[in-house]
Symmetry: C2
Subunit: 208 residues, 2 copies
Amino acid sequence: MARVSSAQRRVELVQAALRVIDRDGVHGATTRAIVAEAHVPLATFHYVFRSRDELIRELIAYVVEQEGRAAEGTLQSATDIRSLLRTGLQAYFDLVVSEPNREQAMFELFHYALRTDELDDLPRLQYERYHRTAADLLAAAARQLEITWSVPLDELARLLVTFTDGLTLAWLADRHDAAAARTMDHAADFIARFANPPTEQINQGAHS
Amino acid sequence: MARVSSAQRRVELVQAALRVIDRDGVHGATTRAIVAEAHVPLATFHYVFRSRDELIRELIAYVVEQEGRAAEGTLQSATDIRSLLRTGLQAYFDLVVSEPNREQAMFELFHYALRTDELDDLPRLQYERYHRTAADLLAAAARQLEITWSVPLDELARLLVTFTDGLTLAWLADRHDAAAARTMDHAADFIARFANPPTEQINQGAHS
DNA sequence: GTCTATAAGGAGATAGAC
DNA sequence: GTCTATCTCCTTATAGAC
């Protein structure tokens, strides 16, 4: 093998581990499975990482950051806030549908970190990042459409993440696309109601 | 050891396994840890269960059913639908706060089942049960206050579960009680808006 | 039905030659 | 820096005596 810097080896192993986790879950991401995926001998693992959990820590930081960046470029354009929100939710959902294992892996990593003493600071950071990303998107949407939000931005951001988490979990359970679409409709309506000045409401009032 | 029926041994082991999972996570629920918790020799495990996953299957059915039953007795009384919903959410949240490991375990079991071939029918059943429980509660609330829902009950039930899941995950991550309370305020407002006849809205319009 | 002993294999981590 | 061989421990599951 060519001699490679330790820093580069770390990145290679993190990315290999991520592929293994997507495929087999956090449980399947043993040091042996990771080095096989990366085509390096087992000893290389412990040459560049002190332990498996040290890799998992770096991996979580990597994917959370990556997911945050991916979300940033998502904002499209629309004439009203409701459709802007609905389109954004759809873009997120399409990503989940196209790569369900990835989102599943994010949840698994979250729960693994919650249960692991050396990693139990990560869940908080993970959700801080989610909430910050959501807040950034909502702020950008407000700028684009020249509206303001009638509740604090971080409160609205937390609501948005609440919706995406709940949406994703239910869809992973039953793969019910139409139900997910209805949930997104309601989520968009709901958050759009906090825009000032208001747009006319749809999906409101008596349906029955 | 006294001779005990196989059926009873199964229940004992499931309950012991549940205690281990609450304490150490699904990952820590090895056959050895379970039999130690139940104070039986290792061979007893495989005398009554064909495999570890067979126990996990029975355990998931057990806890999902148990959680469903627990929710049923939850409905309190109130003069308007918004406070009834808010109180119900608070009751759920208080349960999460008092036993965070239990709710964490439910998520872990869900993701474990999703990743395990022999168990991958369970997540769907788990969410069917959640949705049915939510629908039952919303129907009972409507009867109690003599209102009707302006959207289909199962659609509303799914929204309620979306909220509780998202709420729980964020709280497990950052333990931010006040933010969780605000999320519940919004969730109650949101769902109450689908009641006919409507009650007057609070927390609506310009706060800024 | 209950138990001890053990099979058979996978895990994280390391020693030490090159 | 890289690699083979191995240590030590823990896993699920079973054989077979009582």
